[in-house]
């Protein structure tokens, strides 16, 4: 298995590396092509047009690279994805953009299971908003996909998150509510527990109730109460799809319990009542993904030569109405670095 992968890698790089070493002269080709024929990019989205897609599009506008975007939204319906694959192939586009883990895995396959009939293989592709590119087997290694795709990661490394959390206030007992059916959250809990040993805090976890194989929304508020009674002084909100959907319930409950909360993704802070978060903004991630697309389309780089990395700039977002409601103020040093969400209104508890 490993031998086969190595062999595959070797063969692929033998084919791709010369191409990378002798890049087509960009000045000769792109200006001649740009006015006449824009690059055609097929954008497969999961839940509509949002910031990452906007960032992706704006990058080309700002860089003056002519593109024709063919935008398709699955509307969180997995059944539509095979149609997208067929359409992209039939249109013969220059590049495919995939949004989210599900779209990416279904359209591009995993590195150990690629079927040219079901997946896109000949057209280069870039992916964004995949929380665990390695864990989901999209790529074997963040240094290189080893195949015809490139992409970006968007989750802040856990130790950076913990340092940021501690810089607001040193925490003694960190609480976490999560969906036990999502593997991401289990991994996050393990990492947090491990880091707690070094950073001097204790982790208390509260998985939401599961009935008939489905997480129960109504149990969220009770879980938060339990944590509060357990002496938790800070709530950690993992990048969990179930909790993202029900973020108002979760953050509302935390506010009711006067518990400050830290979110690993931007939505709970930007469009709900989490107190603060350290995230890579979707918009920035979209821009970085467009930069990878530019490397492939304009500069003729092989996708396998592009590493899968997050944006440089970490965004610290503080939700001021929540801060005021909790009267739990951020330190001046952190505040001077942070983006502040403040609509001027006071939140109700």
């Amino acid at each position: 298995m490993i031998m086969r992968r190595l062999l595959l890698g070797a063969v692929l790089s033998a084919v791709l590396v010369p191409a990378a070493l002798v890049p087509a002269p960009a000045w000769a080709e792109s200006p001649a092509r740009s006015p006449a024929k824009p690059y055609r990019i097929y954008m497969a989205l999961w839940r509509g047009w949002e910031d990452a897609a906007q960032g992706f599009k704006d990058y080309f506008t700002n860089q003056n690279i002519p593109v024709e975007l063919i935008i398709r939204d699955a509307g969180q319906d997995r059944a539509k994805l095979p149609e997208f694959v067929a359409e992209a192939k039939q249109l013969g586009v220059d590049l495919v953009f995939t949004w989210g883990t599900t779209v990416t895995v279904d359209m591009l396959g995993t590195y150990d299971k690629v079927d040219p009939a079901k997946h896109i293989t000949d057209i280069p592709a870039v992916f964004a908003i995949v929380s665990q590119p390695v864990g989901a087997k999209v790529v074997p290694d963040l240094a290189s996909s080893g195949r015809n795709i490139a992409g970006t990661s968007y989750l802040v490394p856990m130790d950076t998150q913990v340092n940021l959390l501690q810089s607001y206030r040193p925490v003694r007992k960190l609480g976490m509510v999560y969906n036990p059916l999502e593997k991401n959250s289990l991994v996050a809990a393990d990492e947090l527990r491990e880091l707690g040993r070094k950073n001097g805090y204790e982790l208390a976890v509260a998985p939401v109730d599961v009935v008939d194989g489905k997480p129960v929304v109504e149990s969220i508020a009770r879980k938060v109460r339990d944590l509060k009674q357990d002496g938790v002084d800070f709530l950690y909100i993992p990048p969990d799809t179930f909790l993202n959907v029900n973020r108002d319930v979760l953050t509302g409950a935390a506010l009711a319990e006067k518990m400050p909360s830290f979110a690993a993704a931007e939505n709970p802070v930007l469009s709900s009542k989490a107190m603060f978060g350290g995230v890579y903004r979707y918009y920035t991630v979209g821009q970085l993904t467009a930069y990878k697309a530019e490397q492939i389309l304009v500069h003729k780089k092989a996708p396998a030569d592009l590493p899968i990395d997050p944006p440089r700039r970490l965004s610290i977002i503080i939700n001021m109405p929540v801060v005021r409601a909790l009267e739990f103020y951020p330190p001046m040093g952190l505040l001077s670095l942070a983006e502040v969400v403040d609509n001027g209104a006071e939140v109700r508890q």
């Binding site: 005021r324 951020p330 001046m332 952190l334």
Partner: protein, 712 residues
């Protein structure tokens, strides 16, 4: 006779040269020429600086205050009450550490009560702030003098309502302190350039004028007594050379007249038959021979006297070059990468270059003495120049501490060979009567070079870095080498005197002399330990750790040779008048140890300054009495082996202390930190000095030359 020579040595050490009055006039001329333009120039520069610095400080304070106001207005605008701000202290600390001229930062509420303050005490500012409460500030703020501070207050507004004030304070005398530092630097540069100018003048005058004149005077003095065997061999093309040539032709004329006369007398004697006439002529010839002496070879001997002061300038340059790295050697070692762990702790590694350098000197001088006797000073000097240059240039290129130590050891070897060659040259070119002057010139060159080198090294290293400073040293060593080999080549070194090389074994019996052993163990060795362990190693480290610049560091360290120079001249006189040599050695040791221990009583830089001054007093007080006491307490050994041998042994033994000093300090540093190491070393030095002081009481008792009868 012996004590006369010693007194001569001491008096001579004070006397630069017989051409002193000329030198003093020349020096005054140099001062007149150098000082006024420098003073006027620097005064103008300082005036501009002063006028520029004040407004500059105001602008900087205002810029910082505006930045803080902006940040505060943002935070307060988000609804954070001013008195509930979090992390203000850390926030201020960052700003303060980035702007060292700002003394404090503070926030007061609308009533003038202090909410946050860092860098000053609230008591210092409270009254002034409360006193002006209620006064509305406009956006340009309010500048006020509060105690020693200049306080700039700017208002913080939220929706046009003033809610707080930001205060930025700086020292009123910050500008004055800056100016003082610059004045001090200029003064130091001025003094160093005067000393160097003086050294060059001294060399020029002695080499070209007073030296040749002295030689002529010597020949004239001989001629007055009827001795026409020698003429001065001066060949310079200037007025002095011209004069000497005319003088010599007169001498040769006299010589020719004498030889003509003698030839005539011989002719008369052999050709005359009258015995009486022959007898009378012989008598006249005998009388002439009795009254006047001419060289038997048929022509007067050309006299090229070597002058001990010739080596002064090259020696000065050589020591100057070696001293350049004095103030920063441990810092350089600290900055180099070092192999971690194992037996060598980081502390030990920093001390290693100094210790190995000292060991190099110890080994080198042990060996150099014997080699010089056989080969002559010129060869030894040339031989020593190679390791000195190699060690110095490679020290500047070293990649690691171990490598640096190796090169320092080689440089130490060269140092020993060159200095021993110079010393032996001086003692060869002098006779008993003027040896004191010669040695005085040696000591003078070494001390002034130490003063100038330490200071100049600090300034240089700050401007061009550690490595390049070593290259400057190398260049100076090469210049000194060129001068020295040129000078030593002028005079042939004469027949190497086959001095009796004493076998070591009988000399070792000197340890049976308890006075000598105690002097070595409890006075000489701790003095060197304090010098290398404290002054060379711990002082630069401590000063550096407390944020002093290299130039400041050198400025503080130069106190040691300065104080030592001042004290030693006085104390030598005192010792002669009081005859209290051992007492001075004991007292000196105690002062040095106590000075180092002032670390116990004070904080900051003060104890180091006290320690350095005390060390200067201590060594100035005890160094020459310690040597002068040797002939008294080792009368027999001096008689048997020669005073030079005994002194050389003392010199070698005390270098054990030089090697131990930094290593011991490093061991203390590892366990107790910098302050603890200073105190530990001070305690060791003081304890040893105390033992010596107690035993010293017994030096005077008992038969003073107890074993005189045993002299074979």
């Amino acid at each position: 006779m012996k004590s006369n020579a010693l007194t001569g040595l001491r008096e001579g050490a004070m006397r630069l040269d017989s051409s002193r009055s000329l030198l003093i006039r020349l020096l005054m001329l140099a001062v007149l020429v150098l000082v006024p333009p420098m003073v006027i120039g620097s005064y103008r520069a300082l005036d501009n600086f002063k006028r520029g610095l004040g407004p500059e400080m105001d602008l900087k304070a205002a810029a910082i205050a505006r930045d803080l106001v902006a940040q505060l207005e943002r935070a307060v605008g988000f609804g954070i009450p001013v008195d509930k701000l979090v992390g203000v202290d850390e926030f201020f600390a960052q700003v303060l550490s980035a702007n060292p001229e700002i003394r404090y930062l503070g926030i007061t509420d609308a009533k003038g009560d202090i909410l946050f303050l860092r860098g000053a005490l609230s008591e210092q500012l409270n009254d002034a702030y409360r006193g002006r409460s209620g006064r509305a500030l406009d956006d340009s703020g309010l500048k006020a003098n509060i105690a020693d501070f200049v306080d700039l207050a700017l208002p913080v507004h939220v929706r046009d309502v003033p809610v707080a004030q930001v205060h930025v304070g700086f020292d009123q005398d910050y500008v004055a302190a800056q100016l003082f530092g610059i004045f001090y630097d200029i003064a130091v540069v001025l003094v160093v350039s005067l000393i160097i100018a003086f050294e060059v003048l001294l060399f020029v005058v002695v080499f070209n004028v007073s030296g040749p004149m002295k030689l002529v005077a010597e020949v004239v003095a001989h001629a007055r007594r009827g001795d026409f065997t020698r003429v001065p061999g001066i060949t310079s093309a200037d007025e002095v050379g011209h004069f000497v040539r005319i003088f010599n032709s007169a001498m040769r004329q006299v010589d020719g007249a004498y030889r003509g006369l003698m030839a005539y007398i011989d002719e008369v004697r052999s050709g005359h038959f009258d015995r009486e006439v022959a007898g009378q002529v012989s008598e006249i010839a005998d009388r002439v021979r009795f009254l006047f002496r001419f060289h038997p070879s048929g022509a007067p001997l050309v006299l090229r006297e070597k002058l001990s002061s010739d080596v002064r300038l090259p020696l000065f340059l050589f020591i100057f070059a070696e001293e350049l790295s004095r103030a920063f050697m441990p810092l350089y070692a600290q900055a180099l990468p070092s192999p971690a762990g194992w037996l060598l702790t980081p502390e030990l590694l920093i001390a290693l270059p100094i210790a190995v350098f000292m060991a190099g000197i110890a080994v080198g001088s042990l060996w150099a003495g014997a080699v010089t006797e056989r080969l002559g000073s010129r060869k030894v000097f040339q031989f020593g120049l190679a390791p000195a240059v190699l060690g110095c240039v490679m020290s500047g290129l070293a990649h690691g501490v171990i490598e640096l130590s190796l090169w320092r050891g080689i440089a130490g070897l060269g140092y020993a060979l060159v200095t021993v060659a110079c010393q032996s040259y001086i003692s060869k070119t002098t006779v008993d009567s003027n040896r004191a002057t010669g040695l005085g010139s040696y000591v003078g060159a070494v001390l002034t070079a130490a003063i100038c080198g330490t200071v100049a090294g600090g300034v240089l290293a700050e401007r061009i870095g550690f490595g390049p400073t070593f290259f400057v040293s190398t260049a100076l060593i090469l210049v000194s080498g060129w001068l020295l080999s040129h000078l030593l080549a002028v005079v042939d070194h004469g027949a190497p005197v086959a001095a009796p090389v004493p076998s070591g074994r009988p000399l070792l019996r000197i340890f049976a002399n308890w006075r000598f052993t105690v002097l070595v163990l409890f006075a000489a060795i701790p003095a060197k330990m304090a010098l290398t362990g404290y002054f060379f190693f711990l002082v630069p480290l401590t000063l550096w750790n407390s944020d002093h610049s290299l130039a400041e560091l050198a400025r503080i360290m130069v106190l040691y040779p300065l104080v030592m120079l001042a004290v030693s001249s006085q104390s030598t006189r005192l010792a002669d008048q009081m005859g209290w040599r051992i007492g001075q050695v004991a007292l000196g040791g105690l002062i040095g140890g106590a000075g180092i221990l002032s670390m116990l009583a004070f904080d900051g830089t003060l104890p180091l300054v006290i320690g350095i001054v005390c060390l200067g007093v201590s060594h100035g007080m005890s160094a020459s009495p310690q040597l002068a006491a040797i002939p008294d307490i080792c009368w027999i050994e001096c008689n048997r082996h020669g005073r030079t041998q005994v002194l050389a042994l003392l010199r070698t033994l005390e270098r054990v202390g030089s090697v131990i000093g930094p290593l011991l300090a490093a061991a203390f540093l590892l366990h107790w930190g910098v302050k603890g190491a200073v105190i530990g070393l001070g305690a060791v030095v003081l304890a040893m000095a105390a033992i010596f002081a107690m035993v010293a009481g017994a030096y005077g008792s008992g038969p003073h030359l107890e074993t005189e009868e045993d002299v074979p």
